[in-house]
């Protein structure tokens, strides 16, 4: 039985309270006989950093992939920025995707392109009317924001894991998305770099006023970035609340999850 410990907590920014940018209802997704998401419902508020915590295989990544139409759910509703993702035509879905930034677990930089070309790729396709100077300025700004202006002409193979994540983030924010989806942004990084990435996520939220869903099982990242935390267990929302509320929960599973680093 799913146990909800707290009803939806709003972000700290009071102006953004109750303005929902994502609304997911009764989502189900199976792969063969394995049911990954079971009747999952959640909401994301404007300018909120929502952390989705859960063990590996609990359906966290599947959830955000369903949100951008990379996977299609078996049942349920996904409403992003007022649009019903499941019933959108391809062109409409692409229009919606322009408003969503997705940072993949391994950054997913295009191997055959330089950092500059990686950043140009989405920018020139989404903002087609930009002049070459505007494109160049935007690339410089994005790289400055992630602190990697010197990497402009490097190939992805010349970058470390942390640098790749930063460039991935720069590629995502360069198109000014309204919603950011982070798929395990700190996985595979050392604690210092993880902390830097977590702070960067906060900086992006403040600077670009994005609403974010951060998929992670890294508690430090969750503590640094999350306004609200949703815990998934076996494909369902097991708990929902602020970090403080969850830390004070008497539930054994939540306690054991939050006490382990």
């Amino acid at each position: 039985m799913t146990e909800i410990h707290s009803q939806t907590a709003a972000p700290e920014n009071s102006a953004a309270i109750h303005e929902r940018v994502v609304e997911i209802k009764n989502l189900r997704k199976s792969f063969g006989s394995q049911e990954v998401l079971k009747n999952l419902s959640l909401e994301l508020f404007k300018e909120e950093n929502l952390v989705v915590l859960g063990k590996s295989g609990s359906g966290k990544s599947v959830l955000i992939k369903c949100m951008v139409g990379l996977l299609f759910p078996d049942e349920g509703e996904i409403n992003v920025l007022g649009k019903d993702v499941i019933n959108l035509e391809r062109n409409e879905l692409n229009e919606l995707r322009k408003e969503i930034g997705f940072l993949f677990q391994g950054a997913a930089l295009y191997d055959s392109m330089t950092v500059k070309q990686n950043l140009e790729f989405p920018l020139k396709r989404i903002h087609k009317k930009l002049s070459q100077k505007e494109v160049y300025d935007k690339i410089n700004t994005a790289l400055e924001n992630v602190g990697l202006i010197d990497a402009l002409h490097k190939m992805p193979s010349q970058l470390s894991g942390g640098m790749r994540k930063r460039i991935g983030l720069a590629r995502t924010i360069i198109v000014d998305p309204k919603i950011m989806l982070y798929d395990e942004p700190t996985t595979g990084l050392d604690p210092i770099t993880s902390d830097e990435i977590s702070r960067l996520i906060n900086d992006v939220q403040k600077k670009y006023h994005t609403s974010s869903i951060i998929i992670t099982h890294d508690l430090d990242c969750a503590k640094t970035t999350g306004n609200r935390i949703v815990m998934l267990k076996d494909g369902e929302v097991y708990a929902n609340g602020s970090l403080k509320e969850l830390e004070n929960s008497p539930d054994e599973w939540i306690k054991s999850f939050l006490s382990k680093k």
Binding site: K65, I100, F102, F104, A108, Y110, D111, R125, I126
Partner: protein
């Protein structure tokens, strides 16, 4: 209730029959799965080809990427194709010469080599070499892009990966393979001239005038036309295998391997069909 003794011959026979029946049904199930897997693969490939056609004629063509792929496929395959073509010319000449000498028809050697190279050896050998080099490259590249979520990244940045990655590669392969075939044929002629001069002495002009007096323009057409199909087959199979690779790193190797095997096989099949059609028409 009657008490059966499992050691009695009747019970043993029944148990054996049940086990055999289970084994049989498992085998049937496996065969059914294999058959449905094959049909599914054929259906997926048909829908993949349909998508390529749809995207080819869409308004937003990725011309820059197409040119890059032409360079990758065409220019970077030149040394391999040139070496293979020249060696095939030399080998074919050296192998054929003794037989023609026995029949006193050594003067027909340039013409025979020219026809063999243009009609069959040039296109097929070049296509098989390209199936190995280009097909495996496409399978591995797209497969690794799939595994590292680069194709998904393209999709979420509102770009059609089919248009950017697949259409450009398939068109580049379709266009570049015939050019590589012509290049291989030319190098094959030079190789043949060298082969003739290993055992005898024939001038460059005489060799080529004899070669070109035997072949007609009509010999080129079926060879060039089938080369376009070879290119399309290599491009489609390479991209299909890479684009539909699984999620693990092992699947990259599998995609590259199966791209080479299937595209080589299909090149031979297309060649057989092309030869039949040519034979009927000429």
């Amino acid at each position: 209730m009657k008490n059966f003794n499992p050691s009695t011959p009747v019970i043993k026979a029944k148990t054996y029959a049940t086990k055999q029946s289970i084994k049989l049904s498992e085998k049937t199930l496996q065969r059914k799965e294999k058959a449905s897997g094959f049909l599914l693969d054929v259906g997926n490939m048909a829908s993949f080809i349909g998508a390529i056609f749809r995207e080819t004629f869409s308004t937003q063509f990725e011309f820059k990427e197409f040119l890059r792929q032409c360079f990758q496929i065409g220019n970077k395959s030149l040394p391999l194709v040139a070496t293979t073509g020249a060696i095939m010319g030399v080998v074919l000449t050296i192998q054929s010469r003794p037989v023609l000498v026995d029949f006193g028809a050594v003067s027909m050697l340039p013409g025979m080599v020219a026809i063999s190279m243009i009609r069959e050896i040039g296109p097929v050998i070049t296509a098989l070499i390209c199936a190995g080099k280009i097909g495996s490259g496409m399978g591995a590249e797209l497969g690794s892009m799939k595994v590292s979520e680069q194709i998904d990244a393209m999709e979420v940045s509102a770009t059609n990966p089919m248009r950017f990655l697949v259409v450009t590669r398939v068109l580049a392969a379709t266009l570049m393979i015939p050019l590589l075939v012509i290049f291989a044929d030319t190098l094959g002629f030079f190789g043949s001239w060298l082969g003739v001069n290993i055992k005898g002495s024939v001038s460059f002009t005489l060799f080529f005038s004899q070669a070109f007096s035997t072949i007609e323009f009509i010999d080129f057409i079926p060879a060039v036309v089938k080369s376009f199909f070879f290119g399309a087959v290599i491009g489609i199979v390479g991209c299909y295998k890479g684009y539909n690779a699984g999620r693990g790193t092992e699947s990259v190797g599998l995609a590259a391997n199966s791209a080479v095997v299937l595209s080589s096989l299909l090149v031979i099949v297309v060649d057989m069909i092309a030869v039949q059609i040519t034979d009927m028409m000429l």
